[in-house]
Structure formats: structure tokens, C-alpha cells
Symmetry: C2
Subunit: 230 residues, 2 copies
């Protein structure tokens, strides 16, 4: 990366290597933030994500990327971290089995710790309207509650500063997200959304995440650059 | 451990191997909870803590103990996780350098995830009045904010249940804590509070944590079983 520019405000951006968080990074960067991207090696099945998170971060010459190791698979409870639970290949009702208990709470907490160390007041996360019905920790009321917590939990909050949890995709459909990202020059071929991508980063085309992504490209009228296994 | 007793409510108890959290475990156990203790290998200097956390948990025949690995040292910013920052050996003003950014937020988040998997509605943490002045994430308003968050962040909260964050030491001095623990039969010789204990678990006797512990035993009129290096 280039030397740090001290005139820019800093932001921590949660980056999974998927379509949503890559778009959020492009938005934060375009807004003028010096971006510090954070990914987690949490025992997820779709490890190709981490490669994509690094690729997406290094596509900017002024972004610092960090991976924190965290063995969430030791607490189990999700198809994404527990090898004994299969990833569903058709839509399901209610909160899906791919929900990782308290995942966004954990991720935002660690982002908050890093933000304190860096002196960053803004934390970006790619939750969006499509996720609301399924995942409790993607809803706007969750983001608001976490922001309230952040401001009593930290030095900066206690000393009169203000931490902001920024969820710029909150009201956007998948198609809206893709349109905005494409306008900002995001190369979606670098991103991986599939819950069970192979080690080469090819998508299954069948899981919920693949399905939403495909429909998004169709609805946006943007060519889908995803490489599929099938 | 013994076979699980399904008639008891479950609780996740954050256990560091120190005096406070060991007392909290005794309280939760005495209250009738089936206790699941959680510790973190987060790159802390005082690794003897983890041995103590296991020893304290296994002193009950019905407690399940888990250690989650989490490399918080990669974000730095504290004398407890950054080897380049010295542990102070005399009292300091303001938020101490031993403060680990967002530590209790991170620990409670992971406890929340495990609680969801287990079906536990109670999470115990050993924050107390002595810590308030120094650590923002030990204050009652932090505990309240986390409880609010927990109930919008999780399946159980969304589905009408109630997660409770229990901080039974909140209003207690160190001497009160020791008196209550002693009454519940806690063996404080098993616990380690020192920020820089040696690999054999002997305490420095000089850091803030040692000083508070020593004064606590004195004030409680309970013999101090701590083994010191000096």
C-alpha cells in the first residue's frame, strides 16, 4: 500500500469477499475514507471467500487488509461452520440453517476493537434488505442497537466521540447493489458469494446465495461474470 | 462430566480463571444453572489464566468448558496483547493501557452465539464496581446496552424469548466478592489474577490486578492463598 494519508478519516470495512461487502468497500472508498478491511477465518466452509477478500482489498493501492482467526466452528449450530449440517440447495422457510449464531455481533465487535486501535469512527457493513427476513442480525434495528452499544463500550464513546455503524446497502435490493457497484467500477468477477464454492472459487449455482446473486444480475441488466461449477 | 440434566436452565459463564469470574461461576452454579464456561485464547500474555480456567471449571463435575481461539493480538493496542507495550507496575490515571479494545463486547458476542446454539438464555460475566473507573466496557450501562443488543440480534430475541446478561458482581467491592466466594466454597488458590503470571502460575505481586486482589483479601479478612514470584 501507499504511505498513509493522515488527512483522510479512517474506516473499518467488513469484507467477506462477496458481492455486497465489495460494493460497500467501493462506496466507503468513494466517500473519501482511508479503508481498513477486516475478514474472518472462522471455520467457514467457503474458504475461497478469504482469497476473494484479499483480492478485492488489494485491488486498491491504499487499503490495509487484515484477517482475524476465530474458531466459531467450535460452537457449531450452522451449516456454514458445522460440517455435519448440509447447505440447503432450495429456498427454506424462517431463519435459515446457514445463519451463524451472533455472527454479525461478533464481527462488528472485533471491527470495533480495531477501529479503537486505529482511531477510526466509522465501521461499514454490507447487510441489506434481502437479508432481513432470514437473519435477525441484518435488520436496521440490530445496526442501531449495535451503534448504541459501541458508544458506551469504547474509550472514544466515553470521551465524547461518536462511533457510527454504516450500512449503506440497508434499503437496496440485490439489483440496486449491483447497479451502484458497477457504476463505481467494481469488478464482480473478483467476488465470491457461493456458500459452497470450490477451492478454485467456482460457485455451485444452487444455494440461496447463488440464487439471489443470479437473480440480482438479471434484474440489474448487468452481465453475470460468476464462474459456475456446472 | 456427568450426563446432562435437562431439567435445569442453561447458562454460559465467561471464565478467565481469575478471582472474579470464578466467583461468578460459583454463584451461577449455586443458583441452579447447568453451566457452560467459556474462555478465550486471545493472545494474552497471562496464558496461565487458561490453565486456571480449565482447573476451575473441572472442579465441578457438571460443567462443560470451551476455549475459543481468537488472535486479538493482531489488532494490538493493549499491554495485555501487544508484547511491545509494558504492563504498568504502579497505578495509572484514566483508562489503563491494559484495557483491551472492545474485549468484553467481543467476549459477550461469542458467548451469545454459544448461548443460541445451546438454548441458554442467561450469560454471566464478572465485571464489577472496581473496574468501572478504568474500563468503559465494565460499566452497568454497557451491560444494559449489550442486553438490548442481544435481544434484537438473535433468533430467541426475535421469537419472543429473552436473553439476560447477568453481572452479579456489579455492585460489589473486591472484599465483598471474596467473602461471597469463600462462603460458596471457592478455592481461590486455583485462580490467577496477575497480568504477567509466570508459566507456573505464580503472580508478580506488582501489577494493578495483583494489587487489587491483595487488598481484597486483606479487607475481607480472608487468608490470601496466592503464590507470588517474589
Amino acid at each position: 500500500m501507499s504511505p498513509v494519508d493522515n488527512t483522510k478519516p479512517k474506516a473499518v470495512v467488513l469484507v467477506s469477499g462477496g458481492l455486497d461487502s465489495t460494493t460497500v468497500l467501493a462506496m466507503a472508498h468513494a466517500e473519501g475514507f482511508e479503508c481498513y478491511t477486516l475478514s474472518f477465518d472462522y471455520g467457514q466452509r467457503h474458504r475461497a471467500e478469504l482469497v476473494a477478500a484479499e483480492r478485492v482489498s488489494s485491488s486498491y493501492n491504499d487499503v490495509v487488509h487484515k484477517v482475524v482467526n476465530l474458531n466459531l466452528n467450535s460452537i457449531g449450530g450452522s451449516a456454514l461452520t458445522d460440517e455435519s449440517i448440509a447447505v440447503p440447495e432450495s429456498p427454506t422457510e424462517g431463519i435459515p440453517i446457514t445463519y451463524v449464531p451472533a455472527r454479525n455481533t461478533v464481527f462488528l465487535s472485533i471491527a470495533l476493537g480495531w477501529a479503537e486501535v486505529l482511531g477510526a469512527n466509522d465501521i461499514f457493513i454490507g447487510v441489506n434488505a434481502v437479508d432481513y427476513s432470514g437473519y435477525p442480525d441484518c435488520r436496521p434495528e440490530f445496526i442501531d442497537a449495535f451503534e448504541s452499544l459501541a458508544n458506551v463500550a469504547t474509550k472514544v464513546g466515553v470521551e465524547g466521540g461518536r462511533i457510527r455503524i454504516r450500512a449503506p446497502l440497508s434499503d437496496l435490493s440485490k439489483a440496486d447493489i449491483i447497479r451502484q457497484g458497477a457504476a463505481l467500477g467494481v469488478d464482480y468477477a473478483s467476488t465470491i458469494s457461493c456458500y459452497q464454492a470450490d477451492s478454485d472459487g467456482r460457485a455451485c449455482g444452487l444455494c440461496d446465495s447463488c440464487r439471489l446473486r443470479k437473480e440480482g444480475f438479471n434484474a440489474a441488466g448487468v452481465p453475470d461474470p460468476t464462474r459456475y461449477k456446472l
